[in-house]
């Protein structure tokens, strides 16, 4: 079989043929014939089948989630003009069936439910129903009283309310129905918090979506994360495909991205098995704990743990971010990727932008801009530094702290706080790195030479994030002191 390319006879060679296929694959969303086919009923069917098959084969999705994704995508394909309605319906089903972002919240509710005469599923369902009802009331109230201070600064109000509710729940006696019920509700709220925040901001800024549609975006069916990838309907609408040709291009991009996610997942799986399986190199967390327990691995093994943790983490975040963005694109919204070639970054702030785009956006939208627009207006450098501290330091910590508030259901006092020391330190160092990166006047230029432009800045970024990962922990297992000891021992100190 020959491929009609500009490379002529070279395509007969298997390697050249592979690269010709690769080029054709990567360019298919610009290929008129491919786009025309993708817009036909047969093309739509073929793309959806290929997409779902790739999701099923290459990614570790549950059968239930895959079935829900298939049904939602089918609905969006059949009724593209009503895709918001389909998304909202699927989102309501998703939040009802899987209301908690992390497994620890499910376990907390199951554990607390043993003390009350209700099964966990009933508690979860009641918590979801209560949350949706309150979210509806909040959205309607914001719409009706749009000129009030709370309606204009809804996220700040919601943050205050959230932590007041956590404090109130911590005072209730364990084993009571009120305690169990309120913590179940907080679990749903914490899991949906940032989606809800974007819904409130959307309404404030005039997005025309109906509130029943916004309720379906409290945890959209593509969301495995508490970070709203694709934000909400206001943001999505900027990327919506408006005609069959645009939709075909968007779906072809989705197919390319999900296949790339599958390939990266294969690489991740193989690399993790070779490093942590065959070569028996401990994970970074294991290496830290081994050293803390007096069983220090060799220097080479510890460095291998550190470096492999960095690269495997990049692969993992790329895989799930690509998969989620691909699903959003299949629906018909050509949103930007979550991870975009982070190793190309020449500065810490560029890496932060490329590594986890929608988390960075969350921090910028809800912490950076509000601080930047209000404080230190006469001192530009201090202004940027303070806003960055608010976002990457305070906002970052708050995001993770909020997700982990289930610990206060068991131990509602200050004894729980040391669990968060690592995350606090991590956020502070990250913010400091970003501040320095942003305030540094020097940007590498091509004329600086190959090493100074291509190599040195990238190695610096990698070194910073590699070492920072030692403190990237929310479990509280492995104290700050033990992590510092691990860092120093890497350099023989």
């Amino acid at each position: 079989m020959s491929i009609d390319t500009a490379y002529g006879s070279a395509t007969r060679h298997p390697v050249a043929r592979f690269f010709a296929w690769r080029r054709a694959w990567l360019a298919m969303d610009k290929n008129d014939r491919a786009i025309a086919f993708a817009a036909t009923p047969a093309g739509v069917l073929a793309i959806h089948a290929g997409f779902l098959l790739t999701l099923a084969v290459s990614l570790d999705l549950s059968a239930g989630l895959l079935a829900m994704t298939a049904m939602a995508l089918a609905g969006c394909a059949l009724w593209p003009a009503r895709r918001k309605l389909v998304i909202a319906g699927a989102g309501l089903a998703y939040v009802t069936l899987r209301p908690f972002r992390i497994e620890e919240w499910s376990q907390t509710v199951e554990s607390l439910a043993t003390a009350v005469p209700l099964p966990p599923v009933a508690l979860q369902s009641a918590a979801v129903a209560l949350f949706l009802a309150i979210a509806w009331i909040a959205l309607e109230t914001q719409r009706r009283f749009a000129h009030t201070g709370i309606a204009k600064r809804p996220v700040r109000a919601m943050l205050v309310l959230f932590f007041a509710t956590v404090a109130a729940a911590a005072t209730l006696s364990q084993g009571s129905l009120a305690h169990t019920g309120l913590w179940s509700f907080i679990g749903v709220w914490a899991s949906c918090f940032w989606f809800f925040a974007y819904a409130l901001v959307d309404q404030k800024t005039g997005d025309p979506s109906a509130n029943y549609q916004r309720l379906g975006m409290m945890r959209p069916f593509w969301s495995g994360s508490a970070t709203p990838i694709g934000k909400n309907f206001g943001y999505l609408s900027k990327f919506e495909a408006h005609d069959p040709s645009e939709l075909a291009v968007t779906r072809l991009k989705a197919l390319k991205l999900v296949v790339w996610a599958g390939i990266l997942n294969g690489i991740y799986f193989l690399a993790a098995h070779v490093i942590h399986g065959a070569a028996a190199v401990p994970t970074l967390q294991e290496a830290i704990l081994l050293q803390a327990g007096g069983q220090e691995a060799s220097l080479g093994v510890r460095w291998t743990s550190l470096l492999s943790n960095y690269f495997l983490d990049l692969l993992l975040i790329s895989v799930w971010g690509h998969a989620i963005v691909a699903v959003v694109r299949m629906v018909g919204y050509r949103i930007p990727r979550n991870t975009w070639n982070p190793m190309a970054s020449r500065s810490i702030s560029e890496f932060w932008n490329r590594y986890f785009f929608y988390f960075k956006e969350l921090l910028v939208d809800f912490f950076f801009y509000p601080a930047f627009l209000r404080f230190f207006k006469k001192q530009p450098r201090l202004r940027i530094a303070f806003a960055t501290l608010c976002a990457a330091g305070f906002g970052n910590f708050l995001y993770h702290f909020m997700r982990e508030t289930y610990v206060f259901a068991y131990t509602p006092n200050v004894e729980t706080l040391p669990k968060f020391y690592n995350a606090g330190f991590y956020s502070l160092v990250l913010a400091t790195g970003l501040i320095v990166s942003q305030l540094r006047g020097h940007r590498p230029k091509p004329e600086d030479g190959f090493y100074a432009y291509h190599v040195r800045p990238r190695l610096g970024v990698m070194a910073f994030f590699c070492l920072l990962k030692i403190f990237d922990d929310i479990t509280g297992v492995g104290t700050l002191g033990e992590r510092f000891a691990f860092l120093f021992r890497l350099f023989g100190v």
């Binding site: 201070g149 204009k152 600064r153 404030k204 800024t205 005039g206 206001g234 943001y235 900027k238 930007p336 975009w340 702030s349 560029e350 932008n353 785009f357 960075k360 910028v364 939208d365 950076f368 801009y369 930047f372 627009l373 209000r374 207006k377 530009p380 202004r383 940027i384 806003a387 942003q438 940007r443 230029k445 091509p446």
Partner: protein
Amino acid sequence: MDNSAHNTIRGAIEAILAARGIDGPVSDTDSLFISGRLDSLAATEVMMMLESDFNLDLADPDFDMSRLDTIADLTRLVTDMAA
């Protein structure tokens, strides 16, 4: 006012793009931030330019950041807020 504001804004945006090594023409309706062409740090430069050159107060809670996405958006924002 419109032309003068437009020229000032276009000049500032082109300077920000050039400082980041982003070449090529930019139209009035090209997305700058949502498309990822410019990052949030560049947005702060744009906001500081709006504050210093046009005396805008962007701290108003009604202010919508998505109104900063294109040169046309920025010109409209300056015109609207000056009116």
